[in-house]
């Protein structure tokens, strides 16, 4: 009943113990509430003076108030613990995401991770609270009550005791039937519940095709089909709570009738009968409450499982002996091999040596492994074996602080967060002076654009701020890199592929002089960049098929010549 893994949460045993004590107290208060009410009724039934009723009503009132107060206390205690546990889990999860790096995120999906870290964590909190409250109630309260009822009247106590497993049995059977039914229809459900959003997103296309008006009827028909299927599943799913209700209320009715008959025959006195009647609904209350929250616990359980799975993934460990990078850099890879876990592609036995001051292009058809190689060099992916040598130090991977501190990575859509332009430029160097920021912005060719903005560098960009074009985003990323002087290895992943030709031309004019003296590694499929490179690595299906100076490759390498011809459109190739 209690997820074993939950017991591994720090401090949970202590809090469970405290809550169990409170719950036990509450069981007795509920007992008191029932007792005073029954005794009060018996008092009035005997036609005794009204004044004698006051202590019973007061007793009932106190017990009732005590019960509500304990409910409050239990909720507060459970929430206090669950909130802290969930928040700690969230921090651990994000720290793990940080340690795993961008490739793990890409594999998991950004949307998935965000949902896990927000919805998943709050579902987990809810789950912990439910377990701490509802399950403990179910484990303690009914047994205290049924014990008292049994002492008062054996038959009613035994009847109630028997009903408990019967209810659970029916809930399980019907719950399973409902699950089977909804699993059978799951695919259809998914399709139909996405259909509506699909229709809205495709509305423009439908309009262009001239069928948007008549499609409205389709939206309605699919939604109605969805309703009919949902109702089919609900008819079964709701049977489970029906069964619980049915047995609970029916057993109250049956107990009332049998006790009535016993009373009639003089085998029973009024107080035990009344107290059994009053406490019987309280006996069933915890299991009914648990049943109605059962689905919430399932969501929480799944969320927690997913989070634990992510936390269990191995994290790349930096080498104990960090390479010495003060002097000029030399990076060598020998037989570099990397394989994605569930895909066929990767990098196979790549060997190359790169020096500071070199401008290196990585080219290849799409899917040939350009980005993978760049990610391996950036340390965002970890290869098999120990294939890197950096300034004489052999390394298993490049997720090394000493190496990454000198890196700058500029993808097609650089990361700009919602803040001012200046704050975005200061990303690597939060304490840089205003003059240094201005200088970097001007070197990156931002001055003209900044001049047109009334607030200049203080203009807010990103969500809720000003829109930034693709070219400007690249320039902000460049300025960011220029400000951090120690970042002298620049990685670019197709930075200009989506830009229009003139913007690309202007950006290139800005970039080329900045490349001097740095190690620039540039994955691209735009041919014009090759003319300014010192070294070109040609990839095909994860393997290096040629490398060398561009002029040399153009003259001698068949692989290079074929690729360039294809890119120029000189050979006809199927997309």
């Amino acid at each position: 009943m209690i997820d074993k893994r939950l017991l591994q949460l720090p401090g949970i045993r202590k809090i469970m113990l405290m809550l169990a004590a409170l719950t036990l107290g509450q069981a007795f208060v509920i007992l008191g509430q029932g007792h005073f009410l029954a005794a009060g009724i018996v008092h009035a039934w005997h036609l005794l003076p009204m004044a004698g009723l006051v202590p019973y009503i007061l007793g009932f009132g106190l017990a009732y108030a005590g019960r509500q107060a304990i409910t409050w206390g239990r909720s507060a205690l459970a929430e206090h613990y669950a909130r802290r546990a969930a928040s700690a889990l969230q921090t651990r999860l994000l720290a793990q995401v940080y340690a795993l790096g961008p490739q793990a995120v890409a594999q998991e999906g950004t949307g998935n991770l965000v949902t896990m870290a927000l919805d998943g964590v709050s579902e987990t909190q809810n789950y912990i609270e439910l377990i701490l409250n509802k399950v403990l109630s179910m484990m303690i309260i009914p047994w205290v009550l049924v014990g008292y009822i049994f002492m008062q009247q054996h038959l009613a106590g035994i009847a109630l005791l028997i009903m408990f497993p019967v209810i659970i049995l029916f809930m399980v059977i019907l719950g399973m039937a409902a699950r089977d039914e909804s699993e059978r229809q799951y695919a259809g459900f998914q399709r139909m519940s996405n259909h509506f959003i699909d229709s809205l997103r495709g509305l423009k296309t439908l309009q262009l095709m001239g069928i948007s008006k008549q499609y409205a009827q389709n939206v309605y028909t699919v939604s109605e089909d969805y309703r009919k299927q949902t109702m089919k599943v609900l008819r079964i799913a709701m049977l489970s709570s029906f069964a619980m209700d049915f047995f609970a209320t029916l057993s109250i009715a049956v107990i009332a009738v049998f006790m009535g008959i016993d009373l009639l025959n003089g085998k029973l006195s009024l107080y035990p009968a009344l107290v059994a009647l009053i406490l019987a609904p309280e006996y069933f209350m915890p299991i009914r409450e648990f049943g109605s929250d059962y689905h919430a616990t399932l969501n929480g359980k799944n969320a927690l499982t997913a989070i634990w799975q992510l936390l269990a993934l191995p994290v790349p460990q930096p080498a104990t002996h960090q390479p010495e990078l003060a002097g000029p850099l030399t990076l060598t890879a020998s037989d570099l091999t990397f394989q994605y876990p569930d895909r066929a592609d990767g990098i196979k036995q790549a060997s190359f040596t790169l020096h500071e001051g070199q401008k290196v292009a990585i080219i290849g058809a799409s899917g040939s492994g350009k980005s993978t190689l760049l990610n391996l060099i950036g340390g965002f992916l970890q290869p098999e074996g120990e294939s890197f040598t950096l300034n004489g130090t052999r390394l298993a991977h490049l997720a090394q602080p000493a190496w990454q501190e000198h890196l700058s990575y500029i993808p097609q859509n650089p990361y700009l967060f919602a803040n001012t332009i200046a704050a975005n430029i200061r990303f690597y160097q939060p304490e840089a002076s205003a003059a240094a920021v201005r200088q970097a912005a001007s070197e990156a060719g931002l001055s003209d654009w900044l001049g047109t903005l009334p607030e200049g560098l203080a203009t807010r960009i990103g969500e809720g701020g000003r829109g930034v074009s693709g070219g400007q985003a690249q320039r902000i990323a460049l300025a960011r890199t220029l400000l951090a002087k120690e970042r002298r290895i620049w990685l670019f992943d197709e930075p200009t592929a989506h830009l229009d030709i003139e913007t690309e031309s202007e950006l290139k004019a800005t970039m080329l002089p900045l490349f001097e003296g740095r190690l620039v590694i540039f994955a691209t499929h735009r041919l014009h960049w090759l003319n300014q490179m010192d070294w070109v690595i040609v990839l095909a299906q994860g393997q290096i098929v040629a490398q060398g100076a561009p002029a040399e490759l153009a003259a001698h390498s068949a692989a290079y010549q074929a690729l360039v011809a294809q890119m120029k459109g000189e050979a006809h190739v199927q997309a």
Binding site: I41, A44, L47, G61, Q68, T71, W72, A86, Q90, V97, Y98, V105, G111, V114, A117, L118, R191, D198, R201, M209, G210, A216, Y220, S223, E224, T230, M231, L234, M238, L239, F242, D245, F246, T249, L250, A253, V257, M259, G260, L264, A365, Q404, Y415, A418, F427, P430, E463, S469, H498, D500, I501, H525, L527, H528, N531, Q566, K568, G569, Q574, A575
Partner: protein, 573 residues
């Protein structure tokens, strides 16, 4: 708020019998629950007087009946109310679709519509909850209050009014208090939720930059700031809810205590009358649930209110268009004469005097930096926008007069063609719903997808989003192109269909496009010069003006700028 509502009120009238039964069953459920305790209490009190068995026969039967009635009614109530809500949802979905279909302003104001559309779909979900969690429980609790008051009123009107007062505390005072305290907080939580999602998405998207900074603490701070504030605010809400529930429960406890006192005083006169005391003392306990649901449901009102607001703000706005004409059998020329455009008087002019004539079958490439009016110009050509001055003419008739037959004249292929989550064949057939299978296959063959589609597990009937297989960017464009071939419109507008494709895929796609569209008039917006040789004219649009215009080979000979860009694109400099 409800005065101008056109999303909730009409639906309350639709299926009103289903609604009536759903609410009635809801009330009956609690009536049975109360009556079970009432008759049981009477049965036990009465039996203790040891009357003849025949005398307790009626309460015995009633006790069993109510014991069975409660779960049966509850089950039926749940089914009926869900059925009602889902029926209404179907209507709401169709209505939302229809409103968006005609609301041209919506699509103009919101560029990134994807997220917004999901939010609107969520809003319909919120309204479902408004019915199920707020309106229904309130009506049921209200109905019960009325029944209890009338029932007690039969015995004692004065006391009945006191109990009504206590019930109104549950029904109105407590929910109202909750709303008053929580309203602002809920709104803030909504904003924080959005911010938390935004921040965290931002932070994970920028993870490669964060990784190389080695500033883990700064990353965590940035990623969790809003989430932490949200958790703190939710905690405050929870604290308030416990207080609210505690007060509500205490106030509710007064009712059975008062009933015990009152019934003892009223029925304490004789033995037979005193048998009713247990009934009255016990009847209220099962009803607590009906009242505690109200405060919770009503507490979510700010969410519902937001959803209603969004939906009610959508207003179908028909553009003023001239009298519509039938589609011409052919179009000899598309002419733009001195077209100017700005969104409103205060906005900058986006198109400043464009003149252009496209003859039948001509291919024109349109280049220019992003944000300089290319897309606006396409919208003007389509008639989605009305020129501030000047005209777009098809053989002398304004394009605005052909809006009702536009799909017969224009086809559009844009950056990310939308594929519906249905079969390949259905996606192609959107271009012409009467197309035969042979025609669909002919179109697939023309765009060179026939072999690929034939190799799919279910051929052309394979769903496009089938797990384990996804169409690549180039293949999606080809599928959309096949759709356009079936649509068979004389003028085709291509809005940067090759952005994001690698050059080899791009080359192949451009070759296919020009092969299958050779008889069409084509206006091709593109971001670089690959393939423009295939066009009859190349235009550069900058700041709303056509700054360069001519045949590609002429431009290569006469314009140094064009030569430079051309050489760059070909990798020659």
């Amino acid at each position: 708020m409800f005065k101008h509502d056109h999303w909730v009120k009409p639906d309350l009238k639709r299926y009103r019998w289903l609604l009536f039964w759903s609410l009635t069953l809801g009330i009956l459920t609690f009536v049975c629950a109360g009556a079970l305790m009432f008759t049981s209490g009477y049965l036990i009190d009465f039996s203790a007087r040891q009357p003849l068995f025949a005398a307790i026969y009626v309460p015995v039967v009633l006790t069993r009946a109510f014991g069975i009635g409660r779960p049966v009614f509850q089950y039926l109530e749940r089914l009926t109310s869900h059925n009602w809500v889902l029926r209404v949802t179907s209507h709401m979905r169709r209505k939302l679709y229809q409103v968006l279909e005609t609301d041209a302003a919506f699509w103009q104001e919101h560029r990134r519509t994807g997220d917004l559309l999901s939010l609107l779909a969520d809003d319909i979900g919120h309204i479902q909850n408004l019915y199920l969690r707020a309106i229904f429980p309130t009506v049921v609790a209200g109905g019960l209050s009325l029944l209890i008051t009338v029932g007690l009123g039969i015995f004692d009107w004065g006391f009945a009014l006191w109990i009504l007062l206590l019930l109104l505390v549950q029904l109105i005072l407590i929910p109202w208090w909750g709303l008053l305290v929580e309203k602002k907080r809920k709104q803030r939580q909504k904003a924080l939720t959005q911010q938390a999602y935004g921040d965290l998405t931002d932070a994970t998207l920028g993870l490669s930059d964060w990784t190389i900074t080695h500033h883990e603490q700064a990353f965590l701070q940035q990623a969790t700031q809003a989430a932490t504030a949200l958790a703190a605010s939710t905690h405050t809400s929870r604290k308030f809810q416990w207080l609210r529930d505690f007060c509500g429960d205490l106030a509710f406890g007064l009712i059975p205590a008062a009933l015990l006192w009152w019934s003892a005083a009223r029925f304490g006169g004789g033995q037979m009358a005193a048998n009713w005391i247990g009934s009255f003392a016990l009847v209220m306990f099962p009803l607590a649930m009906a009242f505690s649901n109200v405060a919770q449901g009503v507490g979510e009102w700010p969410t519902y209110q937001g959803a209603l607001q969004h939906l009610n703000d959508l207003t179908p706005s028909e553009r003023p268009l001239p009298a519509q004409l039938a589609a011409p059998t052919q179009v000899q020329a598309l002419t733009l004469s001195d077209v100017h455009f700005r969104y409103n008087d205060a906005a900058p002019e986006l198109i400043s005097g464009v003149d252009l004539t496209m003859k039948r079958g001509e291919k024109i490439a349109l280049l220019g930096p992003s944000g300089m009016g290319k897309t606006t110009l396409l919208q003007l050509v389509l008639g989605d926008l009305t020129a501030t001055s000047g005209q777009v003419l098809l053989d002398g008739q304004s394009v605005l007069q052909y809006q009702s037959v536009r799909p017969q004249l224009f086809a559009v292929l844009d950056q990310s063609p939308f594929l519906f989550n249905t079969s390949v064949a259905n996606n192609v057939r959107l271009g012409n719903e009467t197309a035969s299978d042979d025609e669909v296959w002919a179109a697939l063959k023309a765009v060179q997808l026939d072999q690929l589609v034939a190799s799919l597990p279910q051929g052309a009937d394979t769903p496009v989003e089938e797990a384990g297989f996804a169409f690549s960017g180039g293949q999606r464009q080809r599928l959309a192109l096949a759709r356009i071939l079936l649509q068979d419109a004389p003028i085709v507008l291509l809005d940067e269909p090759t952005v994001g494709l690698d050059p080899i895929t791009e080359q192949a796609l451009v070759a296919t496009m020009f092969a299958v569209l050779k008889d069409k008039t084509v206006l091709w917006v593109t971001h670089h010069l690959q393939g423009v040789d295939r066009c009859d004219q190349v235009l550069f649009l900058e700041a709303g003006h056509l700054t360069l215009q001519g045949r590609p080979q002429d431009l290569l000979a006469t314009s140094a700028r064009y030569r430079h860009l051309y050489a760059l694109d070909a990798g020659e400099i």
